[in-house]
Symmetry: C2
Subunit: 422 residues, 2 copies
């Protein structure tokens, strides 16, 4: 069975001048991998006809499937549609179903019929040589072209619209029309150990790893994901090999293992709290709401997260959390004593099973000789115990904040696991 | 003067299977644009020698400057360094300064001398045909090669290390060694109007825009950035043209203008609050700490942001904000009455000049017939007035949260501006 190779072309000057971060490509790669299609390259080009044509020519030489995103909007800087129509030798025609959909969107979804402009209506003009992929919540439909055994799919750049079309139309089409080789990833999440130390632990494991398997290290803010990939033809053998190697790997890193799935720390915590019907609250100073924000990004978080306090100023620590004025004046806001009182305060205020408290100096300003930038105190509490830890981070403000949030959440995870053994 | 064309090659399987979102490319593009270098393409390839070589060959045919990121780490899946050494016909040699730096990092920065492993020490092996670009906080140095009038720069993929080397070594090198044509962007930020409506307003403006200028629409969560770009040789004329057109554009969108700089809404709010020596607090339900997190991501935010409450559960709204039980039972958590009391509660608790309160249903669950997913109530308060607004969002959970945060912050911006005219 021949491996299907895909290439992703993203179109838009905003990608090349750095005003937009491309999140579409990661989504597309995940989806294609899920059905056994390998993404071999990604190319980003500007809103220039010659550059888009060059990318189409080059990627056609390499790939069986070419996904294009961007350049389909209603404004004058979007040029992809006429270019593709021409590239594949078609003519624009009016598609009544698309026209009806656009009108329906403005009337029923946006509730602004008066805002429907000729330039929106023009989005119903589509190449007569493509299959239309409906865009449930947007005006620009996706388009699928076939030429010389290759498939070309053009999608709007707005992430949610692209995702809807991808899941609703692209994946079903590919599953129906392409035969793919066996291809599988298995991923685990570790915390508390760096990439180099992990690699050192895994030297023997890597050397004896079967040739059909590949191990990758994916570091991210104090955590490292380990991913094994298997590719080949013999599905039963590969499934067994990856299973065996994955279990070996788990045993080798057991001390640092957060999850044996490709999931986030927040998801692990959600599961632990739901299993034990426990609740959580947060008292954040330096992380400024980031921990609460990470927790509440998960659907269903209201089942275990009751709320929190962003106690940025000292008076907020006193008035909302009951931290004693004398504690703050004697030990300072960044101290073990303060985070203990913050954790206790929010636990009592919101009557939760657990609480997290964090206070630190994220930089670039605010440091003192004995508390340099990156000094962070963390406390985890339940009704019986408070566990505290001081960490020293060495990055910039944004990264320190992210890392402090991760360390605090991982401390909570360990706290919950330990307490359930007591 | 010849335009300098750059191409960015990012290396790593994690980019092609969608496990990592590429933020490096946007940073690199911004930095290069800032010194007048145009990024014509970005290519992402996997950790495979043949694919990296192909990308090097192709981009060499197109670009004068090729930036590579990733593939320099200490683990076995990182293969870029030996490949580059070979591609440019060099041999690996040990660099004493890099070896000393690695040792210093483990001893003095990481404070874990025992963690220094042979694989880390090996990172001091560098091609003898490159210039070393020091990596202040990482073990893998950057490398600069020159061949046939082209410059190749290889940098580690860890974002902060890449950024340090880029600012510390790459930009100074390019400024010294390359002559670039005149190239300028001017950007403004609008809110409260969609891309299509804006484009309709600007039809005449775009048609009469000088050929040396280009207008782009960059939509983002309820806001649209408008960017004019000027490129050419005649610097004084271009500067004047872009200035004139930018001012025309400002006048045309004045009603929706948030900023006439390329800055975030949070930065505009920071400036307004600091100018008026005012303070702010937040009471968030459905946004779950996102507004506080956006505000505190700005260095110096402790000068105007005192703190906030993430009142996710109803009891948190009562205990921390003093929302009346009867209000919640009569009108519900997502109601005008509740957000009024939330805004008032946090304003009084933290004695701030202004407060923001948000309560809504972000989905996918939690809706009722008269309050569908996406229903959000927002209140902005000071000591004299409370302004409220109901909005209806139509996206997924993450996007609804982001958009609600933006709308609330823009309401605050308008509230501050209006009140200062009273």
């Amino acid at each position: 069975m021949k491996e299907i190779i895909a290439s992703v072309i993203t179109i838009g000057d905003e990608l090349l001048i750095g005003q937009t971060i491309d999140t579409n490509s990661a989504f597309i790669a995940q989806q294609l991998n899920g059905i056994g299609v390998r993404v071999a390259r990604r190319v980003a080009v500007g809103d220039q006809e010659s550059e888009i044509r060059k990318a189409l020519d080059e990627e056609s030489a390499l790939a069986d499937l070419i996904i294009l995103t961007g350049g389909l909007g209603p404004t004058a800087d979007d040029i992809t549609k006429p270019l593709l129509c021409n590239y594949f030798g078609g003519k624009l025609r009016r598609d009544q179903a698309t026209a009806d959909h656009i009108e329906w969107l403005f009337n029923e979804v946006y509730k602004r019929p008066g805002a429907l402009l000729p330039r929106n209506q023009q989005q119903a003009e589509v190449p007569d040589n493509c299959t239309i992929l409906p865009n449930p919540r947007g005006t620009a439909p996706g388009m699928l072209f076939q030429k010389e055994n290759r498939i070309y799919i053009s999608l709007p750049g707005v992430p949610q619209e692209m995702k809807d079309i991808f899941i609703g139309s692209v994946i079903p089409f590919l599953q129906k029309n392409c035969k793919t080789p066996f291809f599988i990833h298995k991923t685990m999440l570790t915390a508390g150990i760096g990439e180099s130390m992990l690699a050192e632990k895994l030297v023997d494991f890597e050397e004896t790893l079967d040739r059909s398997l590949k191990l990758a290290y994916l570091p991210q803010y104090g955590m490292v994901k380990l991913r094994i990939t298997a590719t080949g033809e013999d599905q039963p053998t590969l499934s067994q090999q990856i299973e065996t190697s994955f279990n070996q790997l788990k045993a080798l890193v057991s001390e640092y293992l957060v999850s044996d799935k490709d999931e986030k720390l927040e998801e692990v915590i959600a599961r632990l709290l739901l299993e034990k019907q426990s609740t959580l609250s947060t008292a954040e100073s330096c992380t400024g709401g980031r921990i609460a924000s990470m927790l509440t990004a998960m659907p269903g978080s209201s089942n275990y997260f009751k709320g929190g306090v962003v106690a940025y100023a000292n008076e907020a620590k006193e008035s909302l959390l009951g931290v004693k004025h004398s504690t703050l004046s004697t030990h300072g806001a960044v101290s073990e004593e303060t985070v203990r009182e913050m954790a206790k305060g929010v636990l009592e205020q919101l009557t939760t099973t657990y609480s997290i408290a964090v206070s630190g100096i994220m930089g670039p300003t605010g440091s003192t000789p004995d508390k340099p930038v990156g000094t962070v105190w963390i406390a985890i509490a339940n009704n019986n115990t408070i566990k505290t830890r001081r960490v020293q981070l060495g990055f910039d403000r944004i990264r320190n904040t992210q890392q402090a949030a991760i360390i605090a959440l991982d401390m909570l995870r360990q706290f919950i696991l330990t307490k359930s053994l007591d």
